[in-house]
Each structure stands twice: as structure tokens, then as C-alpha cells.
């Protein structure tokens, strides 16, 4: 203890959390599903039976068959292949958007919680951002930057910032008052060391849980933006945009909108299940 550090305290040991998570069937199913999707996304060029953007008008508007397992869309493109390639976009958009939200949000939150001078301006800015419903904030940002998948990703990421900021700040405020932080300070640890060694490890668990749960929200929000025509642009194989393509054919060919929507459903459900499981595993007190 001569270096002023104390064992990072509180919260169950990681091994315990991992064991609890592994025993939770539904969250492992969620994790398995996400893993499978990552594999499909990575191996899309190998797995996909057809080119996802190649138009084949003779094959248009076919229902599911042996030739096209999930049918074709109004341009004759194979829906299964498009869903496989779409997994790349949806997963990347979700991960990057959450990354932006977590990176920017947690940093701002930790700064706000630690610095009394910067606390008020940061909290005030977050209150302003929170005065927009999240999807409208994203729409406002896309309005400025222009429609497109990259801008939609930034917009969804910025929309997620206030939530992470608030969470990191409140964790910081409560951890700051704990005895072990006080002890570390008394032993002469610097602020940077206290944050890195004591605050971050303890603030991390709730941030990870919220990040996993936000992944579902981010993928859904990006799909909604694409559905509205504000995200991915044609001919990109993005699930929300594919569902929008199916809108005009919903009476006769509901499969065009349904299969990409089900893909969104599966990935969102899987992230929710994993997030719930992580929450219970990392903090059993939150159970029920």
C-alpha cells in the first residue's frame, strides 16, 4: 500500500460475475446470437449466395423459394444476401454510435463529477440535449449534416451522449465520497491515479451494462433513420432502408419489409438479453 493504492473495492469479484453470467441461459443465448451475427457480418462475401446490390429485374418480387431462401425485392435482389451484408452495416453503426456516446459521454461525466468548475456547464449542456427526444435530436443533427449512413451514425452517437454523461457523473459523485477514495487521497495518491485506479474500475460496471443496452437502441435508431430516408441511401443493403423499400409492396409482398425487420428484431433482442444478463451478473442487487 506504499504507493497509495488500495484494492479496488465494492462490487462482486469479476470471476463471480462471469460465473453468474454463464449460468444465465437467456443472456448466453443473446451473446451467442450476437456472436453469430458478427460471424455472418464478417463472412458475408463468402456466405451470401448473391451480390447484394446487383439488379435482376427478371427475378423481382419473388417469395421465399429454394433459389432465394428469403425471396427477392422489387429489383430482384436476393433478400438473404442483402440481410447478410446489412449485418455489417447495422452492427458497425450500432457499435460506433455507442462508442461515440460512451467515449464522449463518460469522459464528460467523469470531468463533471470531478471538477466543480466544469460541473455546471456540462450538466446544463446535457439538459439542453435531453430537452430533445432522442430520435428528434438525431433527426435535427441529420438535418444539419445531411442524410447518409455516416451522419446518421454520428447523430445517434451524439443522442446517446447525455445518458452516459449523467451515469458517469453520478457514479463519480458517489464513488468520490467512498472511504477507500478518501484513504487513497490521505495516502497521497494523485487525482489522476485515484480516477484511474479507484473510480474508473468501479464506475465501469454500470457503464458497460448501459452500453450493451444502448447498442439495441442505437441499432434501432439508425434503422429508423434509414427507414425515414435520412440514413443509408440506396442501393446500400441496410435493414431499415430495406424495410422502407418493402413499404410500397406491403399488400402483395409483405416479406420484403418483414425479413429485414426480423433481422433488426433479433439483434435488438439479443443485445437486450445480454444487457439484462450483464446487469444482473455485475450487480445482483438490481435483480428484480
Amino acid at each position: 500500500m506504499a504507493d497509495g493504492s488500495l484494492p479496488a473495492a465494492s462490487g462482486p469479484p469479476r470471476a463471480d460475475a462471469w460465473r453468474r453470467l454463464r449460468r444465465d441461459g437467456t443472456s448466453m443465448a443473446g451473446a451467442g446470437c450476437l456472436l453469430a451475427l458478427v460471424l455472418v457480418a464478417c463472412l458475408a462475401p463468402v456466405l451470401a449466395p448473391y451480390d447484394p446490390i446487383k439488379v435482376a429485374m427478371r427475378e423481382r418480387l419473388q417469395g421465399p423459394s429454394a433459389r432465394h431462401l428469403l425471396g427477392t425485392d422489387q429489383f430482384g435482389r436476393d433478400i438473404l444476401s442483402r440481410i447478410m451484408y446489412g449485418a455489417r452495416i447495422s452492427l458497425a453503426v450500432g457499435l460506433i454510435a455507442v462508442g461515440i456516446g460512451l467515449g464522449v459521454g463518460a469522459t464528460l461525466g467523469l470531468v463533471a463529477g470531478f471538477s466543480r468548475r466544469l460541473d455546471y456547464p456540462i450538466v446544463a449542456l446535457m439538459d439542453v440535449l435531453l430537452s430533445f427526444p432522442q430520435i428528434l435530436l438525431a433527426i435535427a443533427i441529420v438535418a444539419a449534416l445531411g442524410p447518409g449512413i455516416f451522419n446518421a451514425m454520428i447523430a445517434v452517437g451524439i443522442g446517446a451522449v447525455p445518458g452516459f454523461t449523467r451515469l458517469a457523473r453520478s457514479s463519480m459523485l458517489s464513488i468520490r465520497e467512498r472511504d477507500y477514495v478518501e484513504s487513497a487521497r490521505a495516502l497521497g495518491a494523485t487525482s489522476a491515479r485515484i480516477v484511474a485506479r479507484h473510480v474508473l474500475p468501479n464506475a465501469l460496471a454500470p457503464l458497460i451494462v448501459v452500453a450493451t443496452l444502448s447498442l439495441a437502441g442505437a441499432i434501432l435508431a439508425a434503422a429508423i433513420l434509414s427507414f425515414l430516408g435520412l440514413g443509408a441511401q440506396p442501393p446500400m443493403a441496410e435493414w431499415g432502408a430495406m424495410a422502407a423499400d418493402g413499404r410500397g409492396f406491403i399488400a402483395q409482398h409483405p416479406h420484403i419489409a418483414t425479413f429485414p425487420s426480423l433481422a433488426i428484431f433479433v439483434v435488438v433482442l439479443a443485445s437486450n438479453l445480454l444487457g439484462d444478463g450483464l446487469r444482473d451478473a455485475l450487480d445482483p442487487r438490481l435483480d428484480e
Binding site: 430533445f132 427526444p133 444539419a144 429508423i224 422502407a244 419489409a257 418483414t258
Partner: protein
């Protein structure tokens, strides 16, 4: 309590001001020259200059914001570039249409969610409880646009019960109600899972309290204990979430209105973004933010009235 209310009221002013700055900045975050973006790449120079002057883009930014705020406070949000109509008159009708849709969705989702939550809590760990909570989780993960499209497919095309899209007229007419059903159903259904889950967990917590045990010990009938003692306390967090969920409803309304061609604020905003009609974009987003802030304020004030135990200083 009066001090609390006044302070809470005062707090909304900087938030709304901040929102107005953000909305104002939308035009200034546009990459390149916004006047050029609006006019299109092939527009002649005098058209671009005209748009620039019309939007006041030739002035210093602070002057522009000052003018924007001053006119907004007078109820003037500029003119639509596309229709040349005043933005306020474009928004007025659309806003009321969105309110109609959101309130209808809110009412039916509460009427469904609270009983489900109550029954699930009272019959905890029963098949109904498990089934309703699993359904809730599944429902939370469904994209709203698919729910809307499936509602159109089933109820409009296959069964022919309701019209495909549009608004049929005022709410008090048969056509008005007829057109409202599918959009309201779609928008409401996404709110049910969260509300039912919250009602359930909140009621479970209330049922574990000492006063409930006391009520039972007095020999009160169980339905009476649940309704009179537990539920009244359990509904408090539900009230908060009902308020906060208006954010989700306003967001969901954007999608629902687009699918059902419902002439509301969300559809107006999306159309304006796609046509680069910035004054309308700014107006719709500003009005949504002000509405949302006002609802949050009302929820907070309602909380004071509903829960006298909370001390406000």
C-alpha cells in the same frame, strides 16, 4: 413548495434558450454554404444571394441568433422556402394532429398496460406473469415501422377494417376516428411493454411494504389491499414514466406519421429535411423540444401534488 415550483419554472428558461441555440445552429452546421445547399448546385448566383438574404445569413452569427430568438418569441418562425407560407401556420395544424395521435396512443396503451402489470404482479411467477413479461421483452425489440406496416397489411389490406393512411377529419367524426385507429394502435403498442413492466415491478415493491402487511393483518380483502393501498403508491413512478415516455411517443410519432401519411409534426419535419426546407425543420424541432420540456415540467409539478411525502425546499 411554492419556492420549489418557482425554481422549477425558472430552470426551464435556460433549457429552452439552449434548445433554441441548438435549433438555430442546425443551419450553421450545414457543411458548406447553406444558401447554396438549399438552392441546389445549379442555381444562379442571384437566387443563392436571395436565399442568403432571406435567411439573414449575410449578418454576423450573433446578430442572426438575436433576430431568430426575437422573432421566435413573437411567434414568427420565418417562412417555408418551399411553400412560402409562414412556418407557424404550417406547424399549427400539424402540431394538433400529432397531439391527437399521441394522446390516443397514450390512453389506449395505459388502459392495456396497467391491468397487465397489476395482474402480473398479483399473480407473480404464474404462467400469465411469465408470458406477459416475455411478450413485453419481445415487444420492446420490435421495430415500430414493422408493427405499422404489419398493421396496414393485416387490418387494411387483408381484413379491410381500416383505411390504409391519411387523416379522415376531425376526431368527432366517424371518418376521423376510423383513420386514427391504426396509427394510434401502432404508436401505442410500443409503449405497452415498458409500462406493463414498470407497473408490475412498482406494485411488487409496494406489496412488500409494512402498510400492506398491516392492511392484510386488519383482515381487508386482497383486491381492496391491492387497489386502495398498494396500487395508489405504485402508480407514482408510472406517472413519471408516462411523462418521460412522451419523448418516445414524439419520436415514434415521426415514424408512425410517415408510414400512415398522418399530417403531423414528425412527417412535416422529415419532409422538410428531405427537401432542405430549413426554416420548417428548425420550427418543427423547436416546437417539439419546447413541448417536451413543458411536459417534463408538468410531470415534475404533478409529482409535488401526488406525493405529499416528498419535501421540497
Amino acid at each position: 413548495m411554492r419556492v420549489y415550483i418557482l425554481r422549477r419554472l425558472a430552470l426551464t428558461v435556460p433549457t429552452i434558450l439552449g434548445a433554441s441555440v441548438l435549433v438555430f445552429l442546425i443551419l450553421h452546421l450545414v457543411p458548406g454554404d447553406p444558401a447554396m445547399v438549399i438552392a441546389g448546385p445549379t442555381a444562379p448566383a442571384d437566387v443563392v444571394a436571395n436565399i442568403r438574404a432571406q435567411l439573414g445569413l449575410d449578418q454576423p452569427v450573433l446578430v442572426q441568433y438575436g433576430r431568430y430568438l426575437a422573432s421566435a418569441l413573437r411567434g414568427d418562425l420565418g417562412r417555408s422556402i418551399l411553400t412560402r407560407r409562414e412556418v407557424t401556420s404550417e406547424i399549427g395544424g400539424a402540431f394538433l394532429n400529432t397531439v391527437e395521435l399521441v394522446i390516443a396512443a397514450r390512453i389506449w396503451s395505459l388502459l392495456v398496460a396497467i391491468p397487465i402489470g397489476v395482474v402480473a404482479a398479483v399473480m407473480r411467477r404464474s404462467a400469465f406473469d411469465r408470458l406477459s413479461m416475455v411478450t413485453a421483452l419481445l415487444g420492446l425489440s420490435l421495430p415500430i415501422f414493422w408493427i405499422g406496416l404489419m398493421a396496414i397489411w393485416l387490418f387494411a389490406f387483408k381484413l379491410g377494417w381500416f383505411p390504409i393512411s391519411g387523416r379522415g377529419g376531425p376526431l368527432w367524426t366517424i371518418a376521423g376516428l376510423h383513420h386514427l385507429v391504426l396509427p394510434a394502435l401502432t404508436l401505442g403498442v410500443i409503449q405497452v411493454p415498458a409500462l406493463a413492466r414498470l407497473t408490475r415491478s412498482s406494485l411488487l415493491e409496494a406489496l412488500a411494504q409494512d402498510y400492506v402487511r398491516t392492511a392484510r393483518a386488519k383482515g381487508l380483502a386482497e383486491p381492496f389491499v391491492v387497489a386502495k393501498h398498494a396500487l395508489r403508491n405504485a402508480l407514482l413512478p408510472v406517472v413519471t414514466v408516462v411523462g418521460l415516455q412522451f419523448a418516445g411517443l414524439l419520436g415514434g410519432a415521426v415514424v408512425t406519421e410517415t408510414i400512415f401519411s398522418w399530417p403531423g409534426l414528425g412527417r412535416l419535419a422529415v419532409t422538410a429535411i428531405l427537401t432542405r426546407d430549413f426554416p420548417v425543420v428548425q420550427g418543427t424541432i423547436l416546437i417539439s423540444a419546447v413541448t417536451f420540456v413543458t411536459i417534463n415540467l408538468l410531470v415534475d409539478l404533478l409529482y409535488v401534488v401526488l406525493d405529499p411525502r416528498i419535501k421540497y425546499s
